[in-house]
């Protein structure tokens, strides 16, 4: 145990002596939280809508106001040239163009047949779908408002209730997931690089000739990084709650406990990578390819797993971030406890144990 302590102390000195790396390990998570928290916002609430109003009546202007006051649509920043609606979309000045031929006011008062047109920029399928349904909703509301008083439109009305994230803030969804991505990045990247450095500079052999077993080396090297990663996790959590106002409905202890397990999984991946490569540079590239990319793409962090092709859905089962992201979102946003999270927890634990076993086996084989 003493020997592990010595190795750990040596590693801590390495970290402290290289302030640039330490800065990267602490500053980058915070910067990324800010950047991702702000930049990944898929709320389709700010659809730029240009209006070609050929009716120019009080009624038509009222409908336009209804669109802009709905919370979904915005006026374009630059006044578009109105002669060519398609050009407005082509240049990206607006996402959609509402075309109101003359006769709108008459149709509204007489309830006669009338058709409005809307051209939608379909390039971003997500925004296009939202534009299509929101504009129908706004239209429907306008017509209902114009019905004679006392007259009730027959049919089904939806009364909606949003649970958990009732303000529909997407940062509340993305920032907790970000913890999983950043922890994976920091833990796997730093461990693989630090072990690769010992190999590259030849100091690994020196360590091995000393009376320390490979297992002690690995545990000693990894402990400081566990502490560093936990520190990162707490930093991001504090930032998420204080800066982004993400609610924390569940238990902090439970979250940190799972965070620890997840960090061990990430570190095991880092050790595994270090046994496969000879230089720091390749270690870094590989860590990105094997850990960061899947944690972002295949974990359900941004893109929903159920929409993926079957092969990638299967692959996602061996991505630790998949389980940790569900756990963290459950605990923070829904206040879930073990009674609902046991499935994810079991998978995460099994995956961690397997990764740890493979990594230490390979490490002893290749290096010991």
């Amino acid at each position: 145990m003493d020997k592990v302590g010595y190795i750990a102390r040596k590693e801590v000195r390495h970290i402290l002596r290289d302030p640039r790396s330490l800065m990267i390990a602490i500053l980058i998570p915070i910067l990324m939280t800010l950047l991702y928290g702000y930049a990944i916002n898929l709320d389709t609430k700010n659809i730029k809508l240009a209006v070609l109003d050929f009716d120019r009546t009080v009624d038509s202007r009222e409908l336009v106001a209804k669109f802009y006051n709905s919370g979904y649509f915005l006026e374009p920043e630059t006044t578009p040239i109105l002669s060519d609606p398609e050009r407005i979309l082509k240049s990206g000045q607006a996402h959609a163009v509402l075309i109101m031929p003359s006769g709108f006011a008459k149709a509204v008062t007489n309830f006669s047949q009338y058709e409005l047109g809307m051209l939608i920029d379909g390039a971003d399928a997500n925004v296009a779908a939202a534009t299509a349904s929101y504009s129908r909703i706004v239209m429907g509301r306008f017509i209902e408002d114009r019905l004679p008083s006392g007259f009730e439109l027959p049919g089904v009305r939806i009364s909606q209730q949003v649970l958990y994230n009732s303000d529909l803030e997407s940062s509340h969804f993305f920032v907790p997931g970000l913890i999983a991505v950043i922890l994976m990045m920091i833990s796997a990247l730093l461990t693989s690089v630090t072990i690769a450095r010992e190999k590259e500079t030849g100091t690994m052999e020196q360590l091995l000739t000393s009376p320390v077993s490979p297992r002690q080396i690995i545990i000693g090297k990894v402990i400081p990084y566990i502490a560093l990663a936990l520190l990162d996790a707490v930093l991001i959590l504090v930032f998420a709650v204080l800066h982004f106002g993400v609610p924390f409905a569940g238990s902090v202890t439970l979250l940190l406990f799972f965070g620890l397990i997840y960090i061990v999984a990430a570190l095991s991946l880092g050790i595994l990578i270090s046994t496969l490569v000879a230089t720091q540079q390749v270690a870094m590239m590989m860590a990105q390819l094997v850990t960061v990319l899947p944690s972002v793409m295949l974990s359900g962090y941004i893109f929903e797993i159920k929409n993926m092709p079957a092969v990638l859905r299967y692959v996602s089962h061996i991505v630790p971030a998949r389980y940790f992201i569900r756990i963290i979102r459950g605990i923070m946003l829904k206040g879930s406890d073990m009674s609902v999270l046991w499935g994810e927890a079991a998978f995460l634990v099994v995956l961690t144990v397997v990764l740890l076993a493979i990594a230490s086996k390979r490490f002893q084989l290749k290096i010991g």
């Binding site: 640039r20 930049a39 990944i40 898929l42 709320d43 389709t44 398609e86 979309l89 082509k90 990206g92 709108f104 149709a107 309830f111 009338y114 058709e115 409005l116 051209l119 939608i120 920029d121 379909g122 390039a123 399928a125 997500n126 296009a128 779908a129 299509a132 349904s133 504009s135 129908r136 239209m139 027959p154 049919g155 089904v156 009305r157 939806i158 909606q160 209730q161 949003v162 649970l163 958990y164 994230n165 529909l168 997407s170 509340h172 969804f173 870094m284 590239m285 990319l293 793409m297 893109f303 929903e304 929409n307 993926m308 092709p309 990638l312 569900r326 946003l333 829904k334 879930s336 609902v340």
Partner: protein, 365 residues
């Protein structure tokens, strides 16, 4: 001069080819990214698992549920459940939407009255929650028109241009092309120069009668060519494998990409002047690249970002290139609509490239 540059270029190519790890990364990265993003990066909201609590149990209520699940948006194959189970299912993330149909649903409809139903939505994923609510509203309106026979006289006809099928991949592939070109040219330029410095061969080059101009050109042209090669691989796979339509002009796309390269090569050179080891160069490039990609509108629309960040995006050259590539590929845009983007790229290209050139030659001397 030309011969010196060619010799330097040859050396650079030989170095890339001889390092098998490097070569693999250079060609594997774009393919992996393209396939991963092409298949995964779908922000479509569909297959929403929906719990149904039907207290009316009538033909009409069942028809309503059927019309809701007719498209590919709502999946209601879960058996009818109690309210308590719905609550639990929400927390276990088994359901995203719960539909509650009250008793008297069909009676009120038949009497041409209004009937309220409850729709609970899991708001965790804000985006899909609001889109799901939008779908439910539209489907309900259609159901009402069909069942009550009452349809509003004023209608809205919508037409989707450019990507009427709503395929996410058509939108993502042009974005990947733009990010790949940025990433690879920046990374290779910054690392190649720093490597020479790190292993001491930059001094050797300096004592040879090679001018700074020749050195810079010899160190950037090869990476520009590799960048174009990667871009072509990605475009080829996009068009043949993902069958994305290409609406605009290939010539224009390559010409404007060439214009954009001045920015990325310049940034690469700049990074090389402020880092001493390859590792630093790599971290810095990575940081610049992530920042550029995140604020370019690649994943999320710029209009959704906070005001202050929106202003910041005007300083991001990739923003203009992203609009350009998507405009040309998806909308068939040409210079008459792209001129603001082109002007911005020219200004950024000249500024960044000149600045880095000056800094580089000062550092070398």
């Amino acid at each position: 001069m030309v011969r010196t540059i060619l010799a330097l270029m040859k050396k650079e190519f030989l170095q890339v080819i001889r390092d098998s790890n490097m070569l693999r990364m250079v060609f594997l990265m774009p393919i992996v990214q393209l396939f991963l993003l092409g298949y995964v990066a779908s922000t479509d909201v569909k297959l929403i698992s929906t719990a149904v609590y039907d207290d009316d149990r009538s033909g009409l209520s069942r028809e309503y549920v059927r019309s809701l699940s007719a498209g590919e948006y709502f999946i209601t194959d879960t058996p009818e459940i109690s309210l308590l189970e719905a609550e639990r299912g929400f927390r276990e993330s088994r359901y995203e939407v719960a539909l509650i149909i009250p008793r008297g649903f069909s009676r009120k409809l038949q009497e041409s009255k209004q009937v309220k139903i409850g729709l609970m939505v899991d708001g965790t994923n804000a985006n899909s929650a609001s889109i799901a609510l939008g779908y439910a509203n539209v489907i309900t309106r259609q159901f009402n028109e069909r069942v009550t026979g009452f349809s509003p006289p004023i209608t809205l006809r919508q037409k989707r241009l450019y990507n009427p099928e709503g395929e996410s991949v058509y939108f993502m592939v042009p974005g990947i092309v733009a990010t790949l070109l940025t990433m690879i040219t920046m990374l290779l330029t910054s690392m190649a120069i720093v490597r020479e410095r790190e292993i001491g061969t930059l001094e050797q080059l300096m004592v040879t009668p090679i001018s700074t101009t020749a050195l810079i050109l010899g160190k950037t042209i090869p990476f520009a060519l590799i960048g174009f090669l990667e871009m072509s691989v990605a475009l080829f796979l996009g068009v043949t494998w993902f069958r994305i339509p290409f609406a605009g002009s290939w010539g224009l796309l390559y010409a404007l990409s060439f214009l954009f390269l001045f920015t990325t090569l310049g940034t690469g050179m700049f990074i090389s002047t402020i880092s001493t080891t390859q590792q630093q160069a790599m971290f810095l490039t990575w940081f610049f690249a992530i920042f550029a990609i995140m604020t370019s509108g690649f994943f999320a629309p710029i209009a959704n970002m906070p005001r202050s960040i929106q202003y910041l995006t005007y300083l991001n050259p990739l923003r203009y290139f992203m609009t350009t590539v998507r405009g040309i590929m998806m909308k068939g845009a040409s210079l008459d609509v792209l001129y603001p983007q082109v002007m911005a790229m020219i200004i950024f290209g000249i500024t960044i490239f000149t600045f880095s050139w000056l800094r580089f030659s000062k550092r070398v001397k």
